[in-house]
Symmetry: D2
């Protein structure tokens, strides 16, 4: 059924996914309604194939059903649903009409609608995560690692409360996201691999299948293994909802990491800060002039998508509740879960693209650092004086810093001239003394931590 | 741009709206992306027309621009956006290319992108609410009133905690929703009428328009009045977000009323209760046999849609926050607001349809009432005895009720036989005494309240 | 019952309210549990007083009950509840034990627990809003107006996407919040005045009261008017939940305005921007040096409180749903509503205090403005050239701006030297030409809008 | 600081935790503000002890600090904070004032406030989970297992859409919760064990500690191991927020399982269903008469608490975002996290108590089952006929079922009399045929699944 894409109401459909060849190309085989119908047909095929393996029908019948299932289209299933008002029966009919009289009874044999729906949903979400979304995340992680390592020694003033604090490097800044996003990738992989299907019938007690199988658990396991998934130990009409809730949480919390990264970049791109910028081409990287009024529209978009999709978790928690062996108040709402995955993927790809071309303006990084360099020395000075026995370190340093500001001189100079500090300086190690003359050295383990984090994730994710 | 509707990922697009001729037919002129582009073109036309009214350009130019604006399609605007990477400039270009050289400068004159976007958004949401959604709500309200009045005397056992409590009528049950939904209709109307547009430029200070107009406030007001909306007293690059938040709250809270109604009906349809049922045709109303296993799928769907869309308010509250004269982190997220209106409309229509054919099973209503009729008398008895001076009313009634249960006799019978109660019964009014012999009379003001509520809303909403 | 405040788990109780003499002093009479019990006792007193007015009991009895109600403490009610496991019956018992035998039956006469609870809740929330919270908001609004008017001509660079855009004034920046918060104050007042009580009994049909009153609506209205509130047209065991949802929405959306203001101030306080600062004393206002590393902890706190309490609306929407004539799944959850009001009040007061002492650093405002002043002229130049017939205004200006940057000269200078622009400059008004030589003039109606907004709200709120 | 508990505003403090000896007794050592201060003091002690282990100070100094830390009270820390306006410095001062001049510099040495706060928060939450909350969950799981096994053969009609569907057992119903809650217990244990602390200083780069330690990672690890926790690979001023978000998700989703269980029980307790009931004493279990109007107030309370606390996840996701090396907008909001754990614990204990005394009314279970027993046979009959070659099984059974209803006879009887079915019945196995004469046999693997699930969780959780 063809429609004008601009008659749609979902911004995903008419804008972010439907007109985005990468997202559309990669995801439509898993997350569109066509994909859902395909996966449901796959479950039906796996079911009949398993029947033949367990001797309930012939291999010929299984092949017939498998071939028929492969031909079913969403279009025809929806037409049939319009007629009979039941979506899974419509699917079964669409298969049955293609097979011989002998094969017909073995289509959908002993199963209930949600045996098919829950299993298809789990299988397609698992595939979408494992085949498209997680790999895209790993690609993004790679970009984050590249920037972190490339900029591991690029001096930056660390900021807390939006105020200059202590020195770090820009690579260290990015290493935060390498680590956090790395952790989320593992969480998403874990959650995707744990999704569960079911083939336990209308109330979950294998009522119908028990009439035919000695071991209906075995039957269920065999069918689901063909789709790459496992059964839960217990199900009702539907699979236990916590496995899906865990997946959605892993995605939403990964989205949160991206939103934080996007916010950081937006602020570093402010006119007054201008340490980074979204670029138009790779050739501009390292450009010495950063064009004014370059809006961080991609970072803004990622934050905006997070705001639009994060509240989806509320629905996921509400969908945990289904009365008795199930009510259907989670039927429509769960159909919207696929949207979250699409929105997340689109944001991952957008970030990857913009970060691949991120302009890092080292001149501005240095300029901003220099604003506070004098102040920076004050902290290690105070700590070192105290550690080496100065009785009133904090107050002494406070007064020294004030003089530096009033005389508009570097604090380093005044330290050198202050006779009372001599004996404490003498007790310090060479490295400690050096920090006091060069605030740029006061970056702690910024470089090593960056390297350590990147090494860990390259190894863990086999990048 | 045509696409297979089943390649979409939004359940609205491929299922609830895109394939629903009523929803699609009624809403696409307001809530689709095509509609958004149309409304934006309307704002551009209104702008140039106002310029001509204020003597800045000729009427001919205004007519040219108006005609050009009427021809613009989403398709071409998106193509132009693909080229120049700016959606409102793409719209302006699409208009400009259709007008004379003289007219070109007066397209989008002195305005910023969000003058157009905010004003178009406010105008189309106002129209969608006033022309389609509120009228559909009034239609549903009408159905609720019809049922309430029709069933105003149909006895029902009132329930608290899921337990039988005191008698009411089924009409009174429905009158709750007449009143609550009526209040929400007023809230939605109010909020829709308060939506604001803006034409105050890039930072809201009328910087550009002040170069040309003595009274840019007047200019803004005139343009917006052509779209049926008003300006706020202050705006930045965008209109104040609280007006939209109020509208979304009015819709979400109206959705909450429907979700409550849906839940009530679902439970009244339980196998053991069976007081109402979703029907297939009007002729079945009052049918003496209620077919078993008639699933409340429509009521379930409404509850499910509420769960999917209610959390949208979180996004609305987050979108209140926009840094300084605006950041764009509300750009993508606000595009999804239209979806809430669509989902709500679909649910309103679904409820109207199922309630128009609601089966009310009076036999079961009576049967369930009778389960507790004996118990019901106990309450007024205790209250009346106490009011008329019985020193130990509660304990006496408790023991009487226990005897009634043990002897399996109606409490009424035991009351009549209890000599110690005579003098108190004598003090009671005739009406009070009557309640004690007929629990069906203990419905208080259920009938009158139903009538009063319905009368009020018929008048208020001119139904 | 005394407890160590630091053994509590709510940050409100042990930190933000419990140890804050202003919040504790002002709010405990409305929003503590002691207050709730007091209000419930007030409802009981109003009930018996109305009985006497309607001739059902003597004035003496009414006075007895009123006096007894005035003496009840939370402590004793909770002790009685521990014994009988019912909180409202515990309250009634606590009153009854203090009155004569004749008066006892007229305590809690014909009413159900939630007649008392809903009415008390509505009355105390209305009082808390009208007597404490809205007045505190008006005080804050006053401060916002003072700053806006004081700084109405203080030049500031407007920012969109965090990038320098067009000029405004700092007063105009604050006027945004004057207008948005003003609107929210009206919304809160409206919602508070609409809160509803009820006295319609266990299922809302006036079952018990109808045994005694010809007009139980009148009875209900009289009781509630003594508490300053109105009944809804329909209630079940509980009052319609939408009135409370509206109030909570008005508060949450007002909180959103404060969160936006807090975010803006936080960012303006960044080391590189430093246009404002949290101060320690009023004498520092206008100080020419802004001390480094002054953290915006109060603004951060307000944003943080918003994040903690805004999601409360989800609970409010879920609490709209109560099965049939009520289930009790909204009982515990609604007790937490008071917390939102406390958190909001605390944030309002905190903001008021910090804004009263806000440091506005005009030197930095000017410095930041100057960063982009050259660029700023480019925009009106382009608009004016186009409006006056230049065939290629945008490109010409682009090239001129580039030259200005390369030659490191003000754009104004190059405009003056550019012969090709002469004839267009000639067509401009004097005011238009003046903007081109002084970017500080390009502030549009920033000053007038600020005045207009402040005038409006001073009048509307009688400040 | 003593306060009247009823002057508090948090329902936890004045009602659910503060007056609940079990919750208060078990949790105040972890989740109160007193506990937070104790844990922070513990981190300070661990820090100095590690300094001595690494040779930076003497063991005597470490002992001094440890003893001093053990004496610090919340009361004095808050008083000191009132004076100096900094909570962690207030703590450090409270320790310092108790130690010798030599020891003073080694208190809080090289660390920043959030080294202490993040580590204390992680440690106390881990302890609260592992020592109190998870064990309480295991206790509840034990009760669930007991009921499931006890009732594994108790026939119940399975319900979907609130409608009678296929037979199960009440034990199978409970086994759903055994499995789902078991899975959540594992999730909570995992998440608690993954909580991370940090000792990496003000911006996370070990700036200060690097002045003194060759291997500041080692230092950090040693300090944290004393608290039973680990560092993250990267931190800023604060620990990575995802570990806490994972914990909160595990708790909220476990709460969701309880909410579902509570809803199921509420509905099974409806007057018309009455299969279970909340009891007052263990002696009533199995009572043959279920007293009317026994409200499911405990189940209602659990659902209500879920509604109040589940939205907390929104705050958790928003708290993932902290600008650069941190802003403080997550400071106040995170203080409220402890409330979620308290509310969850209270609900777990409440459920355990009510389920320990759950009344299971077997007479009503059978009565409700019998309502639909005739219908139940229709399903296996249709499946078996089809499987054994009947050409028109569905239609034949439909007509047969209709006749059964019209003649008011059991379907079993009509099957026996229907000659046309003979040959198909002959092909069936004995077990298959038996199901057709006794619908109670059509429970599939309800009993075995119950046993299997319970066996698994007894083993996994070592119950």
């Amino acid at each position: 059924m063809k429609a004008d894409i601009f008659d749609m109401v979902s911004p995903l459909d008419y804008r972010y996914y439907g007109r985005n060849s990468d997202a559309f190309g990669k995801l439509k085989d898993y997350l569109s309604e066509n994909a859902m119908i395909k996966y449901m047909a796959k479950v039906e095929a796996a079911l009949t194939t398993t029947l033949s393996e367990m001797g309930l029908c012939s291999k010929k019948i299984a092949r017939e059903v498998e071939q028929a299932a492969g031909k079913v289209t969403a279009e025809e299933v929806y037409k049939e649903e319009d007629r009979i008002k039941h979506n899974v029966r419509a699917l079964a009919n669409s298969i049955r009409k293609r097979v011989s009289k002998e094969a017909k009874p073995y289509v959908h044999f002993t199963s209930t609608s949600h045996d098919i729906i829950c299993s298809a949903e789990a299988a397609r979400f698992k595939d979408a995560m494992e085949k498209v979304i997680v790999p895209a995340c790993v690609e993004l992680e790679k970009t984050l690692i590249e920037i972190a390592l490339r900029e591991k020694r690029t001096l930056q003033i660390g900021r807390t409360h939006g105020q200059h604090a202590e020195p770090i490097t820009f690579g260290f800044t990015m290493a935060e996201y390498v680590d956090r996003f790395g952790n989320r990738i593992l969480a998403m992989k874990k959650a995707a691999s744990e999704l569960r299907g079911k083939l336990s019938g209308a109330v979950g007690a294998y009522n119908a299948s028990s009439l035919f199988f000695k071991n209906p658990y075995e039957f269920e396991k065999k069918v689901l293994s063909k789709l790459g998934i496992k059964p839960a130990m217990h199900s009702t009409q539907v699979a236990e909802p916590e496995f899906m809730a865990d997946l959605l949480h892993s995605v939403v919390s990964a989205f949160g990491v991206l939103a934080n990264l996007a916010d950081d970049m937006r602020h570093l791109q402010r006119s007054e800060i201008a340490e980074v910028g979204e670029a138009f081409g790779k050739q501009q990287v390292g450009s010495s002039t950063m064009p004014h009024k370059r809006n961080p529209i991609n970072f803004e978009n990622v934050k905006s998508m997070f705001k639009a999709f994060m509240p989806k978790m509320i629905t996921a928690y509400l969908d945990q509740i289904s009365e008795h062996q199930r009510d259907l108040t989670n039927s429509a709402s769960q159909r919207f879960n696929a949207e979250l995955l699409v929105a997340f993927y689109v944001s991952v790809r957008r970030l990857k693209k913009v970060l691949d071309n991120l302009v890092v303006d080292r001149r501005n990084l240095q300029k901003n650092f220099d604003m506070s360099s004098s102040l920076i020395v004050a902290e290690p000075l105070y700590i070192l004086l105290a550690a080496h026995g100065h009785p009133d370190a904090h107050e002494h340093v406070r007064r020294l810093a004030q003089s530096a500001r009033e005389q508009n001189k570097p604090l380093e100079e005044l330290i050198a001239k202050d006779a009372s500090l001599k004996k404490y300086l003498a007790k310090m190690t060479a490295a400690q003394r050096k920090v006091l003359t060069d605030p740029q050295l006061y970056i702690g383990r910024a470089v090593q931590t960056t390297e350590r984090v990147c090494r860990h994730w390259k190894k863990t994710l086999r990048i």
